[in-house]
Amino acid sequence: MTKKKEAFRETLKYAFIQTLPVLFGYLFMGMAFGILLEKAGYNFIWAFFISLIIYAGSMQFVLIGLLSGGMGLLSLIVLTLSVQSRHIFYGLSFIEKFKAMGRYGWYMIFSLTDETYSLLCGMNIPKELNQKQVFFTVAALDQSYWIVGCTLGAIIGSFIGFDTTGIDFAMTALFVVIFIEQWYSYQSHLPALVGMFCGIVSLFVFGANAFILPALIAAVCLLLVFRNSIKQGENKEVVQ
């Protein structure tokens, strides 16, 4: 029993350190959401409930304007599906891993945000730790930061003492770091370059608000076209 406890403590410690950048990003982004939600007339109970069952950054901000109703059900569904459509691609890298996690796998699917996805892709988990436990702990910690941030924002948001403008840059920095880590761990740089290329071209063609889905679709197509030439130099297991 103590051994189990010890192992859990090690897992928690590792997961906590890995999720630190998300902690800062989520706390402050969550608080921004909580403040706005409260201003729109919904208290911290709503903030808690929304971050618990929706758990999606950009969509929650869009949601604030929709809560009072007025948008038809069909439009609401179409809007949500299109804002969230990028998530369709994230699961593709984890189908077997999450399947092997049994009922915990359901939570992993539910909680697969941009940031959790990036962490799961970027981690090199030490051999002595249980991979499934680490995955679940990382996902659960991330959501707990988000819930705390959103709820706290709705309670005390307007009383914060120091200027936190720009602290959400931690999220951008996290993606840059994971990009570099993957650059080192993949033998072929083609997937990273394909993503960069598709992202930038799509941004210029479709504009800031609509670029991500076309970029992802284009990246999928290009990767499928080039898959054989990439695979030839590739021996490394990707998501470890």
């Binding site: 009072s68 840059f169 598709c198 941004l203």
Partner: protein, 111 residues
Amino acid sequence: MSPEITTPLLVVLVVAACTFMTRFLPFALFGGGKEVPALVKTLGDLLPPAVIAILVVYCLKGVSLMVPPHGFPEYLAVGIVALLHVWKRNNLLSIGGGTLVYMVLIQMVFI
């Protein structure tokens, strides 16, 4: 319950269900008892670096090069994150250092 509660509640539930659907779709398509198709497996292996690259672009999408300060704080801070990381390979140092620089830049330098 009054419509002041039921309407937002309904909206939240619909958005939650649709959000889960997008995350669940790949598992619904390929997650059953059967073997995952080789093509999907390959794609799942190759996709992460491409998606992360697109997410980097996503974070910087709102930065305008036309309007002063021409994205200077963002690109400088991204550069610092990258340099720190190539140099020390320490996640917290790279992310913490870059974020601190960015906060100073937009709060004190490029106001």
